[in-house]
């Protein structure tokens, strides 16, 4: 997966767990929780979906790495580099 693919994968997860939100205008540098309605349970949903879709385990100490779209991509890209984006 490229960085662009990783971003797309994150967007796909956000669409599922925050279906009322417009994710098309997310600014990659700003905190996700400042832009869309995400609480701690939603955040755990993101972690769960990464586990289910990509078999990635995000340890609690790294949760901060998922704060912005840019930091998500930076954190996840090395972990997903050998994967293909589904579909």
């Amino acid at each position: 997966m490229t960085g662009k693919d990783v971003r797309e994968a994150i967007i796909s997860i956000l669409v599922d767990i925050a279906p009322d939100e417009d994710v098309s205008s997310i600014n990659d540098q700003d905190n996700l929780r400042d832009q869309i309605d995400l609480d701690s349970m939603d955040f755990l949903d993101i972690v769960m979906e990464l586990r289910k879709r990509f078999n990635i385990e995000v340890p609690e100490k790294d949760y901060g790495q998922l704060a912005t779209m840019a930091s998500c991509v930076t954190y996840l890209e090395p972990l997903l580099k050998d994967r293909q984006l589904a579909g």
């Binding site: 767990i17 279906p19 309605d37 349970m41 949903d45 769960m48 289910k52």
Partner: protein, 416 residues
């Protein structure tokens, strides 16, 4: 002579919110009941394939956002829909009300089976690795979930809880609301019962193992209380919540009053896990009459609990015969014949289907009654076609459940 209560102790129904397999509001539900329209259909359930079931098609997004819908439970969603519809029907101005004085009391037959089965199925896709078990499981399965979801949705800060009482639970929710109003614990109550039961295969499988699951090639004919060819229960989902108020409060705001709850009773068989006991059922009926200060012959409509099991129907008929023998003006019907058994919703929903009789004087029938079982023969079963009465003043509603929990409500036409 009917018991006289102080005005503050008189509790009235001022709003009805419901979803039934054959109607998503009281008007449509009543229309279906008078037109003989069943709400039972074929339904695919996990591991068991097709079964007859009562399925609701209310608009889940009318009062909930998609995210909250995804996070919560079907039971919560049914409860929110019913509570919101009831409030709208009652004309409550929530913004002008003290939300800490509203209580939410919801009867449930069971809660958590659906969500637990779903999670077990989910982790089965991951070799039963529990790290895939959802963090939503606990809030989805706590027993107060359906009532709690209502309070979150409607920003109600008064008490909320569910009342677990098997299939007597719907009436019990109403009784709880009435009692809390009489005690002065709350000023308004959202009270009733709900069910999401069709989304757990376990309830179908267990009734099947008991030999008590209805089967019929035409699902609309599967629920057939009192019929000789009945072969069991049709499981259904549904919900019904009433707004309950003290009479002076309702009158002060000029509320529409559907009826006054003048009698109720709860007792226990202390007899068996599942088999009902007609002697205790009859005692419960008599106790409700006594509390109301009424006689059996004062009732105009008796809405039965019978679920179309071989034995259960006979037992209720035995109880009814012992109390109502010789009463020629009490008309008997059964709502499950249309919608199946809506479990925790049954008491409230079935009573709701009869409340419009105070206005139109029609008794909705028991459908699918082609060959009356002689053991269920009662005077005045209204079979297959509705019956018009001169006037309907009192409706009795029976709801009984496993472990011999019995509940009876008596509602009176409101006369100001």
């Amino acid at each position: 002579m009917e018991n006289q209560l102080s005005p503050e102790q008189r509790i009235v129904i001022t709003g009805v919110g419901l979803t039934a397999p054959n109607g998503n509001n009281l008007k449509d539900f009543r229309k279906s009941l008078l037109e003989g329209k069943s709400g039972v259909q074929k339904f695919e359930t996990r591991y068991m394939g097709e079964v007859p079931a009562g399925v609701c098609d209310f608009d889940e997004l009318k009062y909930q956002k998609r995210k909250v819908l995804r996070r919560g439970t079907r039971a919560g969603s049914v409860s929110i829909y019913c509570a919101q519809e009831a409030v709208q029907d009652a004309g409550w101005d929530m913004d002008a009300m003290d939300r800490s004085r509203i209580g939410v009391y919801i009867g449930v037959t069971e809660h958590g089976n659906v969500e637990t089965e779903n999670e077990v199925h989910n982790i089965s896709q991951y070799d039963y690795d529990v790290k895939y078990w959802s963090h939503h499981h606990n809030p989805r399965t706590v027993a107060n979930n359906p009532a709690g979801e209502v309070t979150l949705n409607m920003k109600i800060t008064g008490p909320h809880y569910t009342i677990g009482a098997a299939c007597a639970a719907g009436n019990m929710g109403v009784i709880q609301g009435l009692q809390m109003l009489r005690l002065g614990e709350v000023d308004q109550a959202l009270a009733g019962g709900i069910s999401e039961s069709i989304h757990t295969f376990g309830i179908f499988a267990s009734f099947n193992s008991e030999g008590a699951l209805a089967r019929h090639e035409d699902p609309t004919k599967a629920s057939r209380p009192f019929d000789k060819d009945r072969n069991g229960i049709v499981c259904s989902e549904g919900g019904c919540i009433y707004t309950l108020e003290r009479l002076p409060d309702a009158e002060k705001r000029g509320a529409k009053i559907y009826g006054e709850i003048v009698g109720y009773a709860i007792n226990s068989d202390a007899h068996d896990f599942i088999l009902p006991e007609p002697v205790r059922q009859a005692e419960c009926i008599r106790l409700a009459l006594k509390k109301a200060g009424l006689e059996a012959g004062d009732m105009d409509i008796l809405n039965t609990h019978s679920t179309a099991t071989k034995l259960g129907d006979i037992q209720e008929c035995t109880a009814i015969r012992s109390v109502f023998a010789g009463e020629k003006d009490v008309w008997i019907n059964n709502t499950k014949s249309f919608i199946g058994h809506t479990m925790g919703a049954a008491g409230t929903l079935e009573l709701a289907g009869n409340l419009p009789a105070f206005e139109d004087n029609w008794v909705h029938p028991t459908i699918n009654l082609d060959k009356l079982d002689p053991d269920c023969a009662l005077d005045n079963i209204v079979a297959n076609e509705p019956k018009k009465l001169e006037v309907v003043n009192y409706i009795m509603n029976n709801s009984f459940g496993m472990f011999g929990i019995n509940s009876v409500l008596i509602v009176k036409r409101f006369q100001g």
